[in-house]
């Protein structure tokens, strides 16, 4: 257990540091070092900078979609507060991969929170850090903690608030119980704007010497949908694939599509046609004529090629809903079918049956419209 609480940096042995940096995921390698490096969360950063100057932190709750810099921000903040030397002594990072039931909250957090730290301000690398006299406990992925563990936390938070600060990081603020949420100051992380994430990805690409064809970087950002970690991972995976070939070739749009697991547009259009929808002009009664057999063959084919039903569903939705020529009622019914199918998939239903059912329902409403 003890090793699992080590923070990412500082735990690495120095002798093979060079090799490690090469093998390291770029996501870790290019994590922001200071909170000023964090992309496009101006509001949060401004507030945190203030509290950094006064060295007084509140309890914090960070929430927002994945890949928007929540963990990066708190790690950078902790580093600026405590400096590299004291980081390990003062910061406890717990996440979902560690045991985190009620017993851990009781024992581990309590023991960690009990020891009163001293105020030290000298550091080995010559810089001075504020090093305020309290400890920081980061609970990453806090929304996967059990209700009981969360309730156990609330009194602890108050009792030890003199010497500890908590930072909860989660995706869905609704999964944090109300008493905990009201003890923290909340920070919302917005999905990254196209401009700032593009700047970041371009910076990494040029630092790593990535060669990419025109239009590949915007495509990566588009597929990642505001998730910077996803964008950087796509970039690195693509670079691995293309850099491994001798001589290295520039990254193509094709391989990005393959990596991200996106179903080719043609396959989706074929499925839409089988359901009686023309992907460009909307309803087309003649297409729906093939009926049941047409839909079934299309769905079977998708299954054979190994595409995941969830992804197919998402793309059907994206293609179907913007079509302006479909009347509102069939469209609403189609959306209902998609939603129910998604629920079915989430609960573990059989992929082929669920997808077939959904497509047949859409076909039904479309052929009646």
């Amino acid at each position: 257990m003890s090793t699992s609480t080590l923070p990412q940096f500082g735990s690495r042995p120095t002798h093979s540091a060079q090799e490690n940096t090469k093998l390291q995921p770029w996501v870790e390698k290019y994590r922001p070092k200071t909170i000023d490096d964090v992309s496009s969360q101006e509001h949060t950063v401004a507030v945190l900078r203030k509290s950094l100057q006064s060295t007084n932190l509140p309890h914090m709750l960070f929430y927002g979609p994945p890949g928007t810099g929540k963990t990066s921000t708190i790690l950078a903040l902790a580093r600026q507060l405590f400096g590299p030397d004291l980081f390990r002594a003062r910061v406890l990072e717990l996440n979902a991969s560690d045991e985190r039931g009620i017993s851990v909250v009781r024992d581990k957090i309590k023991t960690f929170a009990r020891e009163t730290p001293k105020h030290v301000s000298v550091s080995s690398d010559g810089k001075t850090y504020p090093c305020p006299p309290y400890k920081l406990i980061i609970l990453d992925e806090a929304d996967s903690m059990t209700q009981d563990a969360q309730s156990a936390l609330r009194r602890i938070m108050e009792t030890y608030s003199r010497i500890t600060r908590f930072c909860l990081v989660c995706n869905y603020v609704t999964r944090i119980i109300e008493p905990l949420a009201s003890r923290c100051s909340k920070f919302r992380f917005r999905p990254l704007a196209q401009g700032s994430s593009q700047a970041r990805v371009e910076m990494i690409a040029s630092a790593e010497g990535v060669q990419a064809e025109d239009g590949v970087l915007p495509l990566i950002l588009q597929l990642a949908g505001g998730d910077l970690r996803k964008a950087i991972t796509y970039l690195q995976t693509a670079q691995r694939l293309h850099g491994a070939i001798d001589p290295p070739t520039p990254i193509t749009a094709m391989s990005i599509h393959e990596i991200s697991g996106v179903v080719p547009v043609e396959t989706i259009r074929g499925l839409l046609r089988a359901m009686g929808v023309d992907p460009d002009s909307g309803l087309d009664a003649s297409l729906a004529k093939r009926g049941f057999q047409g839909v079934r063959t299309a769905v079977k084919q998708i299954g054979r090629e190994g595409w995941s039903a969830g992804q197919v569903l998402e793309q059907i939705h994206d293609a179907l809903i913007p079509l302006s020529s479909i009347p509102a009622i069939p469209k609403a019914q189609a959306a209902l079918a998609i939603a129910e199918c998604d629920k079915g998939l989430c609960e573990g239903g059989d992929e082929e049956l669920q997808l077939l059912d959904c497509c047949l329902r859409i076909w039904d409403v479309m052929s009646k419209a």
């Binding site: 990412q8 995976t237 850099g243 054979r304 992804q311 609960e347 239903g349 059989d350 059912d357 047949l360």
Partner: protein, 341 residues
């Protein structure tokens, strides 16, 4: 003497019969030294496992084929003992954590930490890391998957994961974003006939085109099934000539019979009869989902066009309920009763 499926399983990336661009991609990844975590996905019988083993061989050489089977015991926090069968070589370890049901998280945490904290002992090994193969990754519970995500990043130095799943829908997004996704599509008809002819040539006989076509039709993209059917056919009728009936599995014909019964007459006594047959199928360990799907498919083939979507709808509806509930037979019966009305 081993089955043809095992006997003619390709051992090298070069021997693979289809998806050549995928093979070359895997080869260059193995050669580069910068090997990522990989998630293989695709329908069953498409060759995921074969590709994984080929990739391992490419990474470590023939040493990976010296396998041994261990039985490991894990202890849960509630002091329950779990026995897990583990296949391992000096370089890799292969496990199916979903076998232990809801306790899979313990297995994942223990074994990954153990592997991750020991360095490669063999100094002659080509790679510094070990490989952990997790089968049926889509059957892992959410807890187990959540336990994987941080471990995957932290122990990147000593360990690489290869996950094998039939679909990515049930794998949580954080894991997907940490892996290189490799899709293994089922072989096309041409590719399958190429493989069948290859096996026939190795066994020194010629395969008539009609027989090959029949095998391909029944196996619907599942190459393992195709080869098994092929071997069974050869056993039954060595000359493989003329008009031959492809042997279907017993349970499949049985499901067909059930479907016929349902269509014949819709009454309470019939339902009772069907129920008996369903019990029999279940007691032969046929997965209930498969039973439901096969019966639904048979029925759909035989009813009017207007009824088809409805039957599919109810099949999907009761299949989902079956997953969520615990007593499978109730939902199978409910489906039959629904179809009868």
């Amino acid at each position: 003497m081993s089955l043809w499926v095992d006997k003619y399983r390709p051992r090298n990336l070069d021997d693979l019969h289809y998806h050549p661009e995928l093979s070359s991609r895997l080869r260059s990844l193995a050669a580069s030294g910068d090997f990522p975590h990989i998630l293989f996905y695709g329908p069953s019988g498409a060759g995921k496992k074969t590709r994984i083993m080929c990739t391992l061989r490419e990474l470590y050489g023939p040493g990976v084929e010296k396998l041994r089977i261990d039985q490991r015991v894990f202890v849960t926090p509630s002091n329950r003992k779990l026995d897990v069968n583990v296949v391992q070589s000096n370089y890799h370890i292969e496990l199916t954590p979903s076998d232990v049901g809801m306790y899979d998280r313990v297995v994942i945490q223990d074994i990954l930490k153990e592997i991750a904290q020991t360095q490669q002992v063999d100094l002659n090994a080509k790679q510094r890391f070990k490989v952990v193969i997790i089968n049926e990754a889509d059957a892992l519970t959410r807890d187990a998957q959540a336990a994987l995500r941080r471990t995957m990043e932290k122990y990147m130095n000593n360990m690489r994961l290869i996950l094998c799943a039939s679909s990515t829908s049930k794998i949580i997004a954080p894991i997907r974003s940490r892996c290189l996704l490799v899709r293994v599509a089922a072989p096309t008809t041409d590719e399958m006939s190429k493989v069948l002819h290859h096996v026939a040539k190795k066994e020194r006989f010629s395969l008539p085109e009609t027989a090959a076509q029949q095998i391909i039709d029944t196996s619907s993209g599942n190459l393992r099934k195709a080869l098994l059917v092929f071997e069974a056919m050869k056993m039954q009728r060595p000359d493989l000539s003329g008009d031959i009936e492809v042997a279907k599995a017993d349970w499949e014909t049985y499901c067909g019979k059930v479907a016929d019964l349902i269509l014949q007459e819709q009454s309470a006594p019939k339902l009772l009869e069907v129920r008996g047959k369903l019990y029999e199928l279940l007691s032969h360990c046929i997965p209930p989902t498969v039973i439901l799907k096969t019966i639904a498919e048979r029925i759909v083939d035989k009813v009017d066009d207007t009824l088809k979507p409805q039957i599919v709808h109810w099949a999907a509806y009761y299949e989902l309920r079956m997953r969520m509930g615990s007593k499978k037979i109730f939902h199978l019966e409910a489906f039959v009763a629904k179809v009868m009305t």
